[in-house]
């Protein structure tokens, strides 16, 4: 059978390019929201009109200023201990941001490192790390976090460590997958031939190439971690009172709900919602923009 096959060249790569074009819409509003919350967190001391941890019992359950009985002294009302809601929300932003960002970074550092080692070393090291992530992923993250929090007791630092311990596995999985394919690439092979040590290769050649994925994942994890922190605080194993954490405020305000003190729960809830929505929108955008491979995440 002697016949000819005309050279194969894919011609209409239509969809690929258009997808990138569509992702050009930069999520301006979400980014502005995150920046605003970050600034509020940084300048909390200047912005808050009252001490967030001390209240006047005489001024309990004051409604926001636009409702009957409200005043501009407490623009968003007061809680069950007469503490100013606005000030508490402002300082709550600090707790959310600090815990959220540090936990995401901690988890990212641990997960990325272990992911690189696992993927690059292969063999029993890989097996050990991957089986461990499997086992850890078997526990629902929140349950695991509750368990750890119940052991070590609540504090802001402990929460950060716990969340990092729970969430590093996500990074490890993704990063390992990337490393496996990077390992076969020319530049890594060249580095091996050139006599670079394993650690040098991992640090200088592999790490920079998995950073994109790690950053995308981090942005997606930010929302998850903030919800987790709020959930732990809500259950009373998170940031200990009287520190104002949004989750804790919600939980405290729960009792007031039935008698109509809605601002105690709705305000911190809205803050969490805004923050998480923005983080997710930004993460989604980054994912499409930076890393098409993570699209199905």
């Amino acid at each position: 059978m002697s016949t000819t096959t005309i050279t194969e060249v894919a011609a209409i790569r239509d969809t690929g390019r258009f997808r990138l074009l569509r992702s050009r819409d930069f999520p301006l509003v979400p980014v502005l929201i995150i920046l605003t919350i970050a600034l509020v967190a940084v300048f909390a001391d200047f912005l808050a009109p009252h001490n967030p941890e001390v209240g006047k019992l005489a001024a309990r359950f004051k409604p926001p200023f636009w409702m009957a009985g409200g005043s501009m002294t407490y623009p968003l009302g007061t809680d069950q201990l007469g503490r100013d809601m606005l000030s508490r929300l402002i300082f709550g932003a600090r707790v959310s941001m600090v815990v959220g960002f540090t936990a995401v970074i901690f988890a990212g550092v641990v997960g990325t490192t272990l992911g690189i080692i696992s993927g690059y070393m292969g063999g029993w090291v890989d097996q050990a790390i991957m089986r461990l992530t499997d086992a850890w992923l078997a526990l629902p993250a929140l349950t695991f976090a509750i368990f750890l929090a119940a052991i070590v007791g609540p504090s802001e630092m402990n929460i950060v460590i716990i969340l990092a311990l729970v969430y590093w596995t996500r990074y490890a999985r993704i990063v390992r997958g990337e490393v496996l394919s990077l390992k076969e690439r020319e530049f890594v092979r060249l580095a091996v031939v050139a006599g670079c040590s394993k650690w040098t290769i991992m640090r200088k050649h592999i790490l920079p190439n998995v950073m994109n994925s790690a950053v995308v994942l981090a942005s997606l994890m930010l929302g998850v971690v903030i919800v987790a922190e709020a959930s732990l605080s809500f259950l009373g194993v998170g940031v200990p009172p009287p520190k104002p954490a949004w989750g804790l405020m919600l939980s405290d305000g729960k009792q007031g709900l039935m008698v109509g003190y809605w601002w105690l729960t709705v305000m911190p809830g809205l803050c969490i919602m805004l923050m998480v929505l923005s983080a997710n929108l930004l993460g989604d955008w980054l994912r499409v923009k930076l890393d098409p491979q993570l699209r199905q995440l």
Binding site: S2, T3, T4, I6, T7, A10, A11, I12, F18
Partner: protein, 354 residues
């Protein structure tokens, strides 16, 4: 098989002259199908101004590189196009009716019933979750209202007719239990199940190995003869064209660059692209020429130059080729080419410039 590549084609000249009197079964007139991006900023003329026809019982070969618009042409005829693609111009006359103007539900009665199609990849074109019998019987049940039991019986017969052994048990099996060649024959059986007048086969043998390929082609030819089917055979294998086809349509960058009876094109190609294609076929006398096709890359379909799309790769291109696209030139009866070289001086018989 290899020895007959070219001689076979010329031996078929005689009967066609008689058929020529009959009206065509399918006629494409200036058909254009374009892909348009969501913003409408990029337009890819996947099929551009194609005019050709096929008579009952005839075989038309469509050749061209991947991306030259062969498959889009086929899908346009059945109007099963991706969402981004649109038929922007032209007519598709099938048994005298224009398929372009038909409603969706009217088209449904054409698909599978009057025109059937076989896809490239037999591994992917059967649904993994349904039995062979179910999928073969489906067309008959939908188009002819055949009862379940009768359709099942017909499915068994159809499998027999495409030479699938122990078809009674095969109908109850799932696609993954079959070999590639068997699956492609099953797809063939689905194609002919409602006795269509026209069968379009889109590179039906590319994923099969050579012996299976030969068997399958023989089967297709038998089926064609038995049912008086017209066949549009899309391929990039000119050897198959020589064996199977009466007419040949050569496509390049969405346009029909040369069209006419196979043996005449093989004997005397007009378009440089056709020439290059034919030159890359290994010769029968053993003096094999290099198998490399044509130098250069096919053009970016979204950024076609105003001139001839082949100009950049064409050894015979001159200034005019780069600035002005050649019209479709009628060479002799039922034969056209799209090349300035085919235009006699002074320009005389330009047709179908549309």
């Amino acid at each position: 098989m290899s020895n007959s590549t070219l001689s076979y084609a010329s031996s078929k000249a005689a009967p066609r002259a008689i058929r020529d009197i009959r009206p065509p079964l399918l006629e494409l007139r200036n058909l254009s199908t374009h892909y348009v991006s969501q913003q409408g900023t990029r337009v890819v003329p996947a099929v551009d101004d194609v005019t050709l026809s096929i008579r009952p019982g005839e075989t038309l070969g469509v050749v061209g590189e991947s991306g030259s618009g062969k498959s889009t042409l086929a899908l346009s005829i059945l109007r099963v196009l991706p969402t981004a693609a649109r038929i922007v111009n032209g007519q598709i006359l099938f048994e005298g009716e224009d398929l372009v103007t038909k409603s969706d539900s009217e088209m449904r009665h054409v698909r599978g019933k009057r025109i059937a199609m076989i896809l490239q990849d037999p591994m992917a074109s059967l649904n993994p979750l349904f039995t062979i019998g179910n999928q073969v019987a489906e067309s008959m049940r939908v188009h002819e209202g055949t009862r379940r039991r009768a359709a099942w019986q017909r499915a068994i017969e159809l499998l027999k007719s495409v030479r699938i052994p122990s078809s009674e048990t095969r109908v109850t099996q799932f696609p993954h239990e079959m070999s590639g060649g068997m699956r492609q024959r099953i797809v063939g059986a689905i194609g002919i199940s409602c006795e269509p007048r026209l069968l379009i086969a889109d590179e039906p043998t590319t994923s099969l190995d050579l012996t299976i390929q030969a068997q399958y082609l023989a089967l297709l030819r038998d089926i064609q003869r038995e049912h008086g089917l017209a066949l549009i055979f899309i391929t990039h294998n000119l050897g198959i064209v020589a064996k199977m086809c009466d007419q040949l349509a050569v496509m390049y960058a969405g346009r029909l660059v040369e069209y006419g009876p196979v043996e005449r094109i093989f004997d005397n190609p007009v378009h440089p692209y056709t020439k290059a294609l034919l030159n890359s076929i290994p010769r029968i006398d053993g003096m094999r020429q290099r198998l490399t096709a044509i130098e250069g890359q096919p053009p970016d379909m979204a950024r076609l130059s105003p001139g001839c799309a082949f100009a950049a790769r064409c050894p015979m291109a001159f200034d005019r080729c780069r600035v002005e696209a050649p019209p479709s030139v009628a060479l002799e009866e039922n034969r056209t080419a799209r090349c300035w070289l085919a235009v006699p001086e002074p320009p005389r018989a330009a047709v179908g410039v549309a």
